[in-house]
Symmetry: C2
Subunit: 405 residues, 2 copies
Amino acid sequence: MALIVQKYGGTSVGTVEKIQLVAEKIIETKKEGHQVVVVVSAMSGETNRLLALAKNISSSPDNRELDVLLSTGEQVTIALLSMALKEKGFDAISYTGGQISIQTDSAHSKARINNIEVGRVQRELEDGRIVVIAGFQGVDEHGNITTLGRGGSDTTAVAMATALSAQECRIYTDVNGVYTADPRIVDDAKKLSSITYEEMLEMASLGSKVLQTRAVEFAGKYNINLRVLSSFEEGSGTLITNEEEIMEAALISGIAHNTDEAKLTVIGVPDKPGVASLILTPIAEANIEVDMIVQNVGVNNSTDFTFTVHRNDYDKAMSILKRTAKEINAADVIGDDKIVKISVVGVGMRSHAGVARTIFKVLADEKINIQMISTSEIKVSVVVDEKHLESGVRTLHMAFGLGKV
Amino acid sequence: MALIVQKYGGTSVGTVEKIQLVAEKIIETKKEGHQVVVVVSAMSGETNRLLALAKNISSSPDNRELDVLLSTGEQVTIALLSMALKEKGFDAISYTGGQISIQTDSAHSKARINNIEVGRVQRELEDGRIVVIAGFQGVDEHGNITTLGRGGSDTTAVAMATALSAQECRIYTDVNGVYTADPRIVDDAKKLSSITYEEMLEMASLGSKVLQTRAVEFAGKYNINLRVLSSFEEGSGTLITNEEEIMEAALISGIAHNTDEAKLTVIGVPDKPGVASLILTPIAEANIEVDMIVQNVGVNNSTDFTFTVHRNDYDKAMSILKRTAKEINAADVIGDDKIVKISVVGVGMRSHAGVARTIFKVLADEKINIQMISTSEIKVSVVVDEKHLESGVRTLHMAFGLGKV
C-alpha cells in the first residue's frame, strides 16, 4: 500500500460527466490498495466566469476579495467530486485550503505555501477515506483566504505529496507525457518515460507548458516523484525524478521551443559600469519580465545590449527603451518580434563538451543564422528567425538521435 | 452612532448592477455615521444552479458535501459586494461563516447557530470598515462547513445583530413592509409601521412570506429590533419589536391567509387513547408536516380526526392514511385540497373575548361555511372553501377596521 497524490486540472473536471470519469480513475487507484489524496482545480471556464463578474464591478478588483471570489471555484469541484465518489460507494471527504490549514504568506493572488498541517488528512486516510482537496488556495496567518496564482493547483499537489511523504504525485493533464519535441512539429517525437527535475524545469520554462515551473521546483527541492499523465487515456506518462533514479540518463532529453518572445537591442551603449542596470531598471519597474540577456565585450568604449521579453510586452518595452536610450546617450534601439528560441536540453551535456558544437554545425548546415546564444549547465538555447522554427527543431531532434527507434 | 445590521436577499444581489445599488444603500447608512454589518445571500439563481450540478452527480447528494457546495454561493456575493464598496471609496472586508466562527451544530443543511465570536468583526468596525458577512452558513466544532437551510441568511443577520448588540437588524426584501392583509386581495390594505414578534410569527407561519419564522423567533428571544423594508424603494418599512415598544397596540394587526394547505379526515375512528398517535406517527415518519389538528368529542365510542398538511404532501398523506385507517378499523378517509386558511392576528385579542364571535358572525353574514377552527392566544384561524378566499379576507379586514383611514 502506498500513498498517491493525484491532481486533476480544470479541463479534466470541466463537466459533471468528466467529474464522473475522474471519480472512476481515482477508484481504480483506490482499488489497487493505495491511499489516495486528490487535488482539483476549478471546473474549466469557472475562474474566467468569476473574473468577469469581478471586472464588471471594478477594473482593478481588491486582491483580498478576488481571492475570496476565485477560491469558490475549487470549492465547487471538491464538493461535486466527493459526492460522485460517495455515489459510487467509496467514502470520500472534501477539504478547502483553509480547512486543512494550507498556510501561505499574505501575497494575495500569488501566495506561497509556508506549511501544511496534515494531521487531519492522515486521520481521514487511516479511516479509509479518499481525501479531496481544493487546489490553488490557502489561508494566511490571519485566516484570510489566499490563492497561489494560475496553475497553483500543481503546486498544491506537490506540497501535499511532500507534507504527506507520498510515494508519487500524479499530475493528470490533457497530454499523455513529456515528449522529446513538440509532436505537432516533429512526427517521430518520442514520449519520455522519465526526465530529471532540472530538465523538466528547462523544458517548462522554454515553452513546454505541461507543468507549472513552480511545482517542478518544489518537487525537485523535496525529491518528490512527479508523474505527468493523461486524464483521458491509459498509460504511465512521464516520471519526473532525480538523476539517480534514472538508470541511464540520455545525453539529450529533448528539443524545446518558445515562440512567445521578442528581442530588443540598445545599440551603441557607453561601455561603463552600471549601464545594464540603467537599461533594465525601468523595464523591471514596468513589470516586464526579461528572459535572455546578452552583452558582448565592448569595442571603442561602446557595446550593444540585447534581451528578450514576452511578445505581449514588446511595444511597451520598446517605448521605455527609447526613453532610456536618450538618457544614457545610446545610439539607437532596434527590435524584432519574429523570433523563436530553440533549446537543446539534457543533464548528459554536463559531461559532454561537444553539444554546443553539434548544435552550431547542424544549424549552419541548414543555413539557419543564429541571432543570440545562451547556455546553462544542462541547456543550450539559440534565438533564430521564426521562419526556421520547424526546420531547426526537426534537424536538432534528428542530430541528437531522439526519434523513435 | 449606532451599529446597524443589514441583510440583502438573493433577488437584491441578483446581478452585478443590483450589487452596485445595494452598495449605494449601504454607503447611505455609513454616511449617516453608523457602523454597518451587512449579511448577504447567494445571487438569485446561484443556489439552484449549484443544486442542479449536485443532482446531476447524485439523486441524494451527501449532505456534508452539499453544504461545501452551496456555501460558495454566498462567498461569491460577499467578495463582489466588498469589491463594489471599495471601488466606491469605502473600506470593506468580507468574511465567510467559517472565518468569523459562526459556530453551529453538525446538522448539515439545517444547522442551528450555537455561538458567534464577534471580536474580529468588532475590530474591523472600530477600524471604520464595513463588514460583509456570508449568510446561511457556519462551521461546526470540527470545522466542517454547515448551512442553515433555505432563508437562513435572515437568521444569520439576526444572530449577528444579537451577538453585536446592534441597534437594529434591517431585512431588505422585495416588499416594502408588512401589511394588514395581502394588498393583491384587499385594495386598502395598510402597511403597518410596527408589529410584535408574536404577531409577525403568526403572520409568517400563516402565509405572509416576508420573513423566515426562525429569524423572527430568534429576534424575539433576544429582543432585537427587526425592520423589514424594500431593497429598491425608499421608506421605513415595518418595525418588528416587543409589545412594550409599541405605544398603542391595535386590537387586530392583520388578516393572513394560506392557500397552500389541504385537509384530511379519518372518519369513524375508535374513540380510545393512543389513536391520534397511531394516525400521525406514519405521517411524521414520511416527513410530512402537519399544521392544524382538530378532533371533536366522541359520540358512540367513535370520532372523526381531521388535520391539514401542505398541498404538495396531500396525495402522499392520503395513501398513508388509507393504510392506517384499515389498521385501526376506521370507517373511511376523506380529504379536500381546495381549502384556504384565513387568520385574524393581533396581540390585542388577548384581552378581548369578542374577536372570535365577530369573526363567526361576519363570515355567517357572508354565507361562508367554516370547516375547521383553531385558535391561539393572539390568533383565530378558520378553514373555508377556497372560493371564499377573497370575500372572507376582505370582509374580515373591513369588520376589524384595518383599512386606510
